[in-house]
């Protein structure tokens, strides 16, 4: 079975749960940006959480399948159409061979996910099917989709081997795509390089997500942040926001030159010469992935213990989709 891509959309890529283990040589974890929505699409399509899905950004693809197929669309709110007829998001959809699937304009958020029963079966590269476009690794030929691409689809699971029986996801379980979000962060790394006022500004101001936001990172506009002046250590570069190039935590916040904080996401550059001052906790990384440009964002400080508690809570919520 295969998916025929008629129109590729703006930046549609194949993603799964990511490629851990190669960050030490600069290959990022990758994987679906909004991992919960991707997992929900898989659950609805009768897959496990591990199958590769299509990540659609802003403008989705138009495609057909060459045999009967089962798909599901989850994530940012969008009109789903089959042969021009509206179909629901967050629900299992049965397609006949040749049915044409297309999407309307996003009504919020940034990304939605299309899962197909059996999963997108591109080759596994370094343990994952995720597309790392900068390195041309994984996914479909290492790149975003183009018109004319034919994507192989894997064999559907036997009923009951892990795929959920769920064919719809009630509203209470779905993530929301708000225009105002509070993102929890753990201050640390190089936060001592900021003035006290600078750190307070970061943690109390309302930040606006700029259009400079992609799989690598998201840039926010807001007030300037003051770094402590210092004589720079050897090899660190001249600005007080510079450090000797170091590894970057995924989710870490850097503020080059004290302007426009950048939060690194799943296709993070693995290192560089800007001091990081806080890190978005793992439970809130999906929140960033759901934010559309213009989203008003607050960064709220939490402790490591609170971050771990939020993580456990998130895991519990996640398991409820499979229940």
């Amino acid at each position: 079975m295969a998916i025929n891509i008629l129109e590729p959309g703006l930046a549609t890529t194949v993603q799964d749960q990511g490629r851990p283990g190669y960050y030490n040589v600069g290959i990022p974890q990758g994987g679906a940006m909004d991992s919960l929505s991707a997992e929900m699409a898989n659950a609805l399509a009768g897959n496990t959480a591990a199958e590769a899905v299509l990540e659609c950004t802003y403008l989705g693809p138009k495609f057909t399948t060459d045999t009967d197929a089962v798909i599901a669309v989850a994530g940012a709110p969008v009109d789903v159409k089959v042969n021009g007829e509206p179909r629901p998001q967050w629900s299992r959809l049965e397609l006949a061979a040749g049915d044409e699937v297309s999407f309307g304009m996003l009504r919020g958020g940034t990304r939605y996910y299309v899962a197909v029963q059996g999963g997108i079966d591109v080759p596994v590269v370094l343990g994952s099917r995720s597309t790392y476009t900068l390195g041309a690794v994984g996914g479909f030929e290492g790149r975003a989709l183009k018109a004319g691409d034919v994507l192989p689809v894997g064999t559907a699971l036997d009923v009951g081997t892990g795929g959920a029986e769920r064919t719809e996801l009630e509203e209470a379980l779905r993530p929301s795509f708000d225009k105002e979000v509070t993102v929890r962060v753990l201050p640390g790394l190089y936060d001592h390089r900021l003035t006290e006022e600078g750190l307070n500004t970061l943690l109390s101001a309302t930040w606006t997500l700029t259009p400079v936001a992609d799989r690598t990172g998201l840039r926010y506009s807001g007030p300037d942040i003051v770094w402590k002046p210092r004589v720079q250590p050897f090899g660190a570069g001249s600005d007080p926001s510079n450090i000797v190039d170091a590894g970057y935590a995924v989710g870490s916040i850097q503020i080059p030159g004290g302007k426009e904080p950048i939060v690194l996401h799943r296709d993070a550059v693995s290192g560089g010469g800007y001091a990081m001052v806080a890190t978005v906790i793992s439970a809130d990384m999906d929140l960033l992935a759901r934010s559309a440009p213009g989203t008003k964002t607050s960064f709220r400080a939490v402790t490591l213990e609170e971050a771990l508690a939020a993580r456990a809570e998130g895991r519990k919520a996640r398991s409820s989709i499979w229940g």
Partner: protein, 300 residues
Amino acid sequence: MTDTAVQRTDARYTWGGDEFLFVEIAEAMSLAANYKANAMAALLTARSLPGVTDICPANASLLIRFNPDILPPDRLQTEVRAVEDEVAHSSHQTLDTRIIEVPVWYDDPYTRETGARFRKGHQRPDGTDLDFAAEENGLDSPAEFIRRHHESPWLVSMVGFVAGLPFMFQIVPQEDQLEVPKYLSPRTDTPALTVGHGGCFACIYSVRGAGGYQMFGIAAAPIFDPAQRLADFRDFMIFFRPGDIVKFRSVEEAEYRDIQAQVDAGTYTYRQAPVVFDLQRALDDPAAYNRELLERLDGH
């Protein structure tokens, strides 16, 4: 040289959210700090702790990714501190590694053309990156800078930023280090395999893309091969590893083209030899030690 052989001062431990532990070994770059980062990474890797997913040594720091559901943060920190202690108290500061010859066409037309497109806003708008680098280091000419760039070996102090990009630190006393500020405003384009320089670090861009390092030349052979066509990439698509020692060799256009033809034919292999890097000897008498390293490349 102001370095002391072993970085005996304690590192600084701090959390990058609930999945990353960051260990700052020193604020300043030095061979000793980098040695400690690599040595800690090697020992930690050997411990194969369940729940540790990535161990990323950097220039003067170490970043560790872990799954706190499997390995609680406190336990990880205890393990890493034990490893730090082990490195600090080991009597022999050596690293099993290799020396690799990297052919470079310095002052090539590709980086020259790219540099010309980004003159506006550059520190030296009317010259080239090499002119600027020579002046910044008080050298008579770009040719003299190029000579200094390839005459002594470099240590790969970190691999990353993007897939397979090596950062390199010249194995010479601090006062002899080539230092060049980065671009004031980053370029949106850099040819793949550009040999760049920012601060005290050299790099080779593994893929085409944005960049802020000054550009001096272009490496003749790939360092990142996702298709794994060449023999040097049969085991892994990325060539460099932290701790590798690099000797640049200046080649002219004819040899550059010849190497490219070998790459196209799938027959090119890097000239390399195994070495044991000895931190103390590199710090005590870098000139003599570098000569010895380079002899290993010639099979002595």
